[in-house]
Amino acid sequence: MHFPIILFLTKNWLESHMASAICSQKDYKVVPGPEAYLSPAAASMGIVLPEKGQGLIEGQIVSEKVAMEAIAKKLLGAKNPTFFPGPNVLWAVSEKAVAKAVALQEMVKAVPGMKIIPMPDYRPKYPMINPEVEINPNHPNLTIWHNEIDVCVFAGVHCHYANLALKIIRGGTDCYTIALCANPGHEDAMISLRDVHVEDIRRLTKVIERLREGSK
Amino acid sequence: MRFDIRMSGLGGQGMVTAANILGSAAVKDGKHSIVIPFFGAEKRLAPTESYVRISSEEVYEKGEVTYPNVIMVFHEEVITKGKCYTMPFYEGLQQDGLLIINDSDEISLSERNTQSLKERNARIFYVPASQIALDVAGTELATNMAMLGALVGATDIVTFDSLEKAIAERFGERKFVASATTAALDDVLKRKYARAQELVEKNMEAVRVAAKSIKDS
């Protein structure tokens, strides 16, 4: 557990309660935690979502290409990379969802040692979750802590729940979070891509494979 | 020229309708206008007011006209019995303002009121609007039109052409948002005339007669 909790509390209590204070927003970075007793939402700290063709790295807007490279590097350098697929890809609701699921599995295969822990739904599960087999947006950091996951990828999670989970993970763990979003992206992730569809996942997989081959 | 007009009368005399028609006519003339009724739970024969602002410039102000330069009194009881939310009836009248009162005879005012109006250099016109409405349009419900005629006679605030179009639009087939009581009076009025066109013509005649009576005076 993080020790100087009082310090965190003071600094971040101020920040999250002065969410609009320009001074505290200036240098805000979305980096691995543990950040605070209750970390602020990155959007309230002045972090804005990327436009089409762009991505986010630690709160900074970069080109999509740069973001993809960064994701690949993070995944290949991870001790315990983990993929958290959400309901939109776990459940075969449409051909699009199935195609995406297949593409994501190819991505997982490209990363040596990458695990999959699913987020099958969003219920507050009773009485407990087994963090070895599932992640739940209502207690995501249990999963992260238990498995000592250092880099994780979210995909197929509804945006609202993805943001909850990403923020709690940042608040309570030192996991590096990556979000592949089909909508406009996630400020609360350390790296985020937007408008990610099947072909974009394939492109990302290619980047991972290229970097992996290059490092051999 | 900027007109800030207050119309005072009793519920059912058509102050709100007159204000809508006047504002609409001003817009047709290419001017700017804002129309607002006095907003209470208005009932028949209860004191009622409506307001129109007209200008060649853009108009921003909302709400009651508190400092009018034109006050139109639709019913003598506004003055004689104080049936008016604004007391005395000329409260807020600007310097050199205009008063148009629906009565054939001059109403005797208290010395204080006479003095006060004199200090403001108010121009006062009496017009037998209800009588004109009855004689020319065949119904007292056209009183408001005669009052508008008097206003046009005194100020040329809108053209007859636009006024006619505005009346036709108001009583035409287009759906018009009116309170329940106003809608009921609309029905009475429409029943009086065989055709919508006749309604417009008769009302315009009342407008012209009233305007002429002011011009002539």
Partner: protein
Amino acid sequence: MKERKVVDPEYLLKEAPREKKFLIGNEAVAEAVKRANVDIGVSYPITPQSEAMHLVGDIYAEGYLKDYYRAEHELGAMAAVAGAAMGGARTFTATSGPGTLRAFEMFPCWAGARLPIVCAFMCRGVNSPLTIQPDNIEIGWLMDTGMLIFHAENPQEFFDMLLQAYVIAEQPDVHIPVGVCADGFFVTHTREIVEVTPEDEMLPPYDPSKSPCPTMDMETPPIRQIRDPFVMKSNYISYNAHASWQQEVRAAAERSRKHIAKYLGSSIEVTNPDAEILLMASGTAAAQARVAVERAQKDGIDAGLVKVKVIRPFPDKEIRELTENPKAILVPEHNIVGWLAREVMSRTDYTKVCGGPRVFGGMTMPPEVILSEIKNLARVI
């Protein structure tokens, strides 16, 4: 009903040809709803809102909406639009003063459930003794529900803001309700020129598949799903989930800033920003203030005006910058509590802020009243 075609929102809001009409605010509301391609309207009568929902009923009868009914009370109306929105429909409703309060529990619920509902608030007094007259105290209460709050000055803005509200509310990164407020009677019953877009052009339909929360139709995964979950366990982490949830609703409002800049232009409108005396006002108080500022300038007083169009998310940065230089800030308002003055004070040197004049209970605020306050200030600064 004319045959209608779907057009691009940006075209409809910015480029579509406009026709001048002489309308009251309530008519402008119905004209906006017509073009917003709304699925369901739910109404409940209250002055001064009623005529707007009558007219929405009329356009439903003409075929512009797919469903419409009069609810049992405002709480029922607001709950029904919530249900419809959870089912993936685009909804509209409106209320005023006491109705807002009767339904109040639903507003944080809409925001928390991330429902892109657009509701028009035709503000009126709510206290006893009864008043049906304009008074926008309810905005002061609505501000902290998590909804976006727009404040229209006139029927034209009411029309535009309602359409803009749908476009902004339904952005996947925003997806929270928008309250479009206008002062009752001063806007709802005031007839003036409103420039409207063509009757046969409408916004694209709502796409629930882009919602940040699943649609409740048993077609959207996951099927094991409650809108919206309780905290089931009493421990740090599940409360953290709830706290994060609330932060996420506020974050959504922050994200709307980008879209507000795109579709509204700006959250504020400024005249003479370098003035010694700066007025800050919203709604019809801004209209009255504009006239007072013009007259003050004619009298040789250095006065300016900031009209605040968006109350939530509050234009913090803009207000902070604008309040740096003036010697005094005057905040005229149509309510007794002075919620806008409070907002401004908390973002600047509050000793410079004069909250007032305040007019409420239905009274008109003549520009002369504001002007005399400007003159008083000019004497002392």
